[in-house]
Symmetry: C2
């Protein structure tokens, strides 16, 4: 095994389409991947089960789920039942934005990386489709990467961390094509903000619309499992 | 009430001596203080009860405790029972360092601040006594403050966050003198890494030694409640 093949990475894995693609990319680059999911009180809890399936299917070394009660902070449709998940596109930063979520998640990935001796973090942020989320932009990722060096024991000792965000400039269609080429089974993933207990998608929320359009634009069959009344999504299935 | 008097701040409150002092300083500056504690699987759980008492005594608007299983990551004597808390001073970064802890905690404070409409975060990091902790240095705090602007909705909209670390250059004696002048009852606080269920201090760990020396150097009585076999600390009590 080459030295590269032994390098460890922490991969943030939500169980959605994007992070599954990132895990496949990190594996293809030869990283031993330690997948990290957060059980943060999200509405779409079927994601966590999907993350487990994806980690196994794509050959992660291990999959860790950390419990964190982000619902205590509130402020997002994803963690506060009193805030509705929009069924139509919204202007500006959408109500599904979870305040400081990526900073919290990357911080935990950083902490685990330090314990593991990993120097590489992978995250599936995307600045194209989710341009409304501030913590999905390249300048944010660059700032977090700089912070890593100052925040950690190994950073102080002179080592650098790299925060890989390989999807950041890709369209959803590009992401779907890339993952399909790497053998990702997107039928295992759950992107929907309002998935049911079986992980079936609503077909109407922002995440469902973007995902369905991605498959359509890529000219690939959409393997998403939709709820019986799955709305827009079902009509876009191949 | 003046506009300043209405400004909200999120104050990270561990229940220890430093963060109690920070809360008193933030109150003195007129902030409406929202105190945040993390239940992160720390050994010294009596801290959380101390935080509740301190928040109340110092007039915080509210006190929130967020559960986060940092023990899942391990790597620190504070969260991993297999790693001993040192009873003698150590060289370099001590085993009580929790990987990326301040980044995780500040991220959560940032998320809550965004929900509350607060633009000020207060944290009791100190670069003098804990110079072994990378995430207690001024350059780290400055980097996190820059990140806040990029990470958040309000940052994107042009507003700045300020991360206040008023203790960063103070000795423990300075901190104790400052808090005493502000009326902090340090008998309510728990700093010990190995406090018992009643919050009584071991008198031997790093935190106990630093704290006892602070009171001694400040020439102030040490109100710490020590365990019956409280070792070094008890010998330094006034």
């Amino acid at each position: 095994m080459s030295r590269d093949a032994e390098r460890k990475a922490v991969v943030l894995l939500s169980g959605g389409l994007d992070s599954a693609t990132v895990l496949a990319l990190a594996r293809r680059q030869g990283y031993a991947c330690h997948a990290l999911s957060l059980d943060y009180g999200q509405r779409h809890r079927a994601e966590l089960e999907a993350a487990r399936r994806v980690a196994q299917a794509l050959g992660a070394v291990e999959h860790k789920v950390i419990a964190l009660d982000l619902g205590a902070i509130g402020g997002s449709a994803l963690t506060d039942p009193a805030i509705a998940v929009p069924e139509q596109p919204t202007r500006g930063i959408p109500p599904t934005y979870v305040p400081a979520r990526n900073t919290v998640f990357l911080s935990l990935a950083l902490g685990w990386a330090e314990v593991l001796g990993a120097r590489d973090l992978f995250v599936g942020v995307n600045a194209v489709d989710y341009s409304g989320y501030p913590d999905c932009r390249p300048e944010y990722i660059a700032a977090f990467e700089r912070l890593c060096k100052l925040a950690t024991r190994v950073g102080v000792e002179g080592e650098d961390f790299t925060v890989h965000a390989p999807l950041i400039d890709m369209s959803k269609a590009d992401i779907v094509r890339t993952g399909t080429g790497l053998g990702v089974d997107y039928g295992l993933t759950v992107s929907c903000y309002a998935a049911d207990a079986q992980g079936r998608a609503c077909g109407r929320c922002d995440a469902c619309r973007l995902r369905a359009r991605g498959f359509a634009e890529a000219g690939l069959p959409d393997p998403t499992h939709y709820q019986p009344d799955g709305g827009a999504g079902t009509t876009q299935q191949a």
